[in-house]
Amino acid sequence: MAKKEYAFYPGCSSQAKSSAANYLTSVTAMCDKLDIKLTEIPDWNCCGASIGYAEGGELPRLAINARNFALAEQHLPGQDIVATCAACWLGARESKERLDHTAQLMQETNEALAAAGLKYEGKVKVRHMVEVLIEDLGYDAIKAPVVKPLEGLKIAGYVGCQTNRPFGIDGESFENPKYLDKFIEVLGGEPLEKYEQKVACCGGALAFSEPEKSQKQIRDIVESALDHKAELIVTPCPLCQANVEVYQSEINRKHGTNFAVPVVYYSQLMAVAYGSSAKDAGLNGQLIRTEALEKIANK
């Protein structure tokens, strides 16, 4: 099957030695097995993230996103932009929708872009890696390369907010999306379909400013996963991954719990199931190491 090519928007957190570096590593391994060619958008910039609103305002946020669109349209014509980070995808897609639907904003934004000799034509599409996997490849294609099924591995699919709302994946419910469970299933693992915290918010945006409030969210997410006997939590979102993984020790420190549930990306599950090494799957990037996956990877 012919290679599928996309204009890749890794986002700040996926850069080398950034908080989601291991996401990028595993995505690279995954795409390699799935015949997906990702070409990084030359000189892309930050999406502004949701938290950018307070100081950034509306038009500056639209403008910096439009800059990425313009660069993609210019250098990678005809290719859809694919983001792996929930926030990047959301920030970009929201900007695109608003620009495409409001002539005035489009005009003002291009006026701004002109300052750097750029123009957004409104052509390029903005998509999340999960959309590409489901819509362009499909579950059978995802299943095909499996060589090391994740046998008997109980995994809680934690979708979180921004890959799920307000756009979400076509045909999935906001309250009960099933795609992570389907991923786990085709990869040979055991999905915990009744996991209640699937779409709960990890409080990511407030992780720094309101630690108590966001850590309360994280507690529920981890506790419920444990109630369901989860050995792993899997997520499509770097903010979710970082928050849910990073703060478990902090919560233990404050509340005397002893959480140590590994939180991985779907791409890491796939990389492992597709036979990549623990390193290529970015497992060494885990703060809470996941022996279970490493064992399978090292088989």
Binding site: S173, F174, E175, N176, E196
Partner: protein, 432 residues
């Protein structure tokens, strides 16, 4: 069956619910020729599935009995059940209509003695009791749809038509009424006017994801609740919740389940507020002061004298009101109770309240299964029927707007006269 009896002076009424029966009878009692087609095996429609009517708390079957008596006694109405309209050609005053009659596998010899039912063992979903929904009710595959079914004639479910079960039913019938050889039959008719009284259907509760109808056993719809409260229903009138068959005494009613919501139905379905107010009285009927009803609402729309009923319910100590669109429902894993989360907007009170059972007051949307509307029918923004451009086809009852029974009958009576006007004009122009 021949089409010859029908002419440009005949009125076709599509749908055998209370609106269709009314439209047909009112015209027939004015002396007009009417053909009434119904896609299911029996007349009565959705109202026959209600336990009581608001605001009188009387029984829909009472009116049904009168309408059936009118039909039995009136030679001007011809009733065709298990019949759908598959095509309408022509224009005002002169329509060529194609009907498809599905096999009932039971002919007019049937005396409703019930021997075929005794002879078969396999069961199918009891759609009269919303057995295809949360009630899970079943009937024998050879059945009388309900005690007041008209025609009073058994039905053999297609699933056993070609099987040994079917043969057993045939063998059991002393009157040669079981005819397993029946096939789809197409019928051509000429009519002058068409009244579309194809009715409504409850909005699909599975689509209202935050309320988890698809995930939680003890979240049901208002139409299902009617069957639970009805002594003729699957629980013999006991309010037993689907999850564990326990008696539900503390019941939450959620208004606007699908209605007034641009993610679902953009219109207000009009009847739901009154329906829930009525259903709180089912709870009182079952448990007296020991029952508890809570209505979660945005606006209580008890129009005109229905306000009396609202005021009566407000005085009922077992009923309380929360002005809030419930945000989401979770389930208490210990006891299977639904837990409602939201905020009471009068003032600001956050709640997470547990109930035995949740009844979703699901909205009305136009019935579309088995309904093939001609192209020149004009629909409104919610697909209710406004009528055909040339006025030869008229929408009636809940097919034309979300209406309560009384207003649906009023609408159907008006539609009946509009149809009469059409054939009158045809007659006078032909005469001229």
């Amino acid at each position: 069956m021949t089409a010859s009896i029908a002419t440009g002076q005949t009125i076709l009424v599509v749908g055998g619910g209370i609106s269709g029966m009314t439209a047909a009878l009112e015209a027939a009692e004015c002396g007009k020729q009417v053909i009434l087609v119904e896609k299911t095996p029996t007349l009565g429609g959705r109202t026959a599935q209600l336990y009581r009517y608001f605001p009188k708390m009387c029984h829909p079957t009472c009116g049904l009995e009168i309408n059936l008596k009118r039909i039995k006694g009136n030679p001007n109405v011809r009733v065709m059940t298990m019949t759908e309209v598959t095509a309408v050609a022509g224009s005002r005053g002169n329509y060529a209509v194609t009907l498809k009659v599905a096999p009932r596998y039971v002919n007019e010899n049937c005396t409703a003695c019930g021997d075929c039912g005794k002879a078969v063992t396999s069961e199918v979903a009891d759609t009269y009791n919303y057995g295809d929904g949360k009630t899970g009710a079943k009937v024998k595959a050879a059945y009388l749809p309900h005690a007041m079914a008209y025609p009073q004639r058994y039905v053999i479910d297609p699933s056993i038509a070609g099987t040994a079960e079917g043969e057993a039913a045939k063998a059991a019938c002393k009157y040669g009424a079981v005819d397993l050889g029946m096939k789809d039959e197409n019928v051509q008719l000429n009519v002058g006017a068409v009244v579309w009284a194809t009715g409504w259907r409850p909005y699909d509760a599975n689509k209202i994801q935050p309320y988890g109808y698809d995930r939680y056993a003890n979240v049901i719809t208002s139409v299902e609740f009617e069957r639970l409260a009805d002594p003729h229903g699957p629980t013999g009138g006991k309010i037993l919740r689907p999850g564990d068959g326990k008696e539900a005494k503390d019941i939450a009613f959620i208004q606007c389940a699908g209605s007034r919501d641009e993610n679902h139905l953009r219109h207000c379905s009009r009847i739901c507020c009154m329906a829930s107010l009525k259903q709180t009285q089912y709870v009182r009927e079952a448990y007296g002061d020991a029952g508890k009803s809570t209505i979660y609402y945005i606006d209580i729309r008890a129009i005109d004298r229905f306000e009396d009923f609202y005021q009566m319910v407000q005085k009922d100590a077992t009923v309380s009101f929360v002005k809030s669109k419930v945000a989401r429902i979770a389930e208490n894993k210990e006891n299977g109770n639904p837990v409602l989360h939201g905020v009471d907007t009068e003032g600001y009170h956050r709640y997470a309240t547990e109930h035995d059972l949740v009844v979703l007051a699901v909205g009305m949307e136009p019935e579309v299964t088995g309904v093939k509307l001609p192209d020149d029918i004009v629909l409104d923004s919610s697909n209710f029927i406004e009528g055909s451009k040339d006025g030869g086809m008229i929408g009636a009852g809940a097919a034309s707007s979300p209406l309560d029974v009384n207003r649906a009958v009023q609408s159907a009576t008006a539609a009946s006269l509009k149809a009469i006007q059409v054939i009158h004009k045809t007659a006078s122009t032909e005469a001229a």
